[in-house]
Symmetry: C2
Subunit: 129 residues, 2 copies
């Protein structure tokens, strides 16, 4: 399902998950690389320079379109050209950055806490061990 790219994304994590899944496959990355290098292309075009069938390409393009990384646009002769769209990747990138930062924060807090399991009270009235 393609939600219009102008509306704010319903869930950053969902977008990020789709982008991760999309980018985890080498064939998908090849498709994206081709689109980045030569601009919009049809599934048939892509099948010409990749060692798999047009239908396999088409399936990948559906997945990429769902992730928002690519948008289909109807051409003149009922041909559908797919154009690259980098916005969701930047979203995923921000998500990754936030996640890494969050992890480091939490782990730092944990380590701080575990280093001082019984913080020394300011008064010297510790009444037991």
């Amino acid at each position: 399902m393609h939600w219009p790219a102008t509306l704010p994304p319903p869930d950053i994590e969902a977008i990020a998950e789709q982008v991760f899944q999309a980018l985890a496959d080498p064939t998908r990355r090849a498709i994206l690389a081709r689109l980045a290098a030569q601009g919009p292309a049809t599934a048939t075009d892509l099948a010409d320079c990749l060692p798999i069938t047009r239908q396999a390409i088409a399936k990948h393009l559906v997945l990429l379109a769902d992730a928002g990384l690519v948008t289909p646009e109807l051409g003149e002769r009922r041909r559908v050209r797919y154009r690259l769209h980098s916005a969701p990747m930047q979203l995923a990138q921000q998500f990754l950055a936030a996640l890494a930062h969050d992890w480091d924060d939490r782990l730092q807090a944990l380590s701080d806490h575990l280093d001082r399991p019984a913080p020394v009270p300011r008064h010297n009235n510790q009444h037991s061990n």
Copy 2:
């Protein structure tokens, strides 16, 4: 295969691919979230708070360790605790950022090129609309 984390990564793209693959799975993200929230844990610990078996967790941990997101450390009673490691995620994040930037550059160049197939001369002699 665990290459020692002290050596420089053999290939950024390979690391990124593994991180993407790792982060594409919700169970794996749950494991990582748990490790971020409560610190290092064993596969058995994780199985206690997730609805799948310890062996399933263990398989995910192998994958996560391969991606470098987690490092196993041998504990006292032959127990193996897994500790979170955010470095490869930051690498993947940088990879994503570079990729997005590269795409935008190439697409901008393409669009520039296609917009001016015959560059307009500087004089105001545009002879048609």
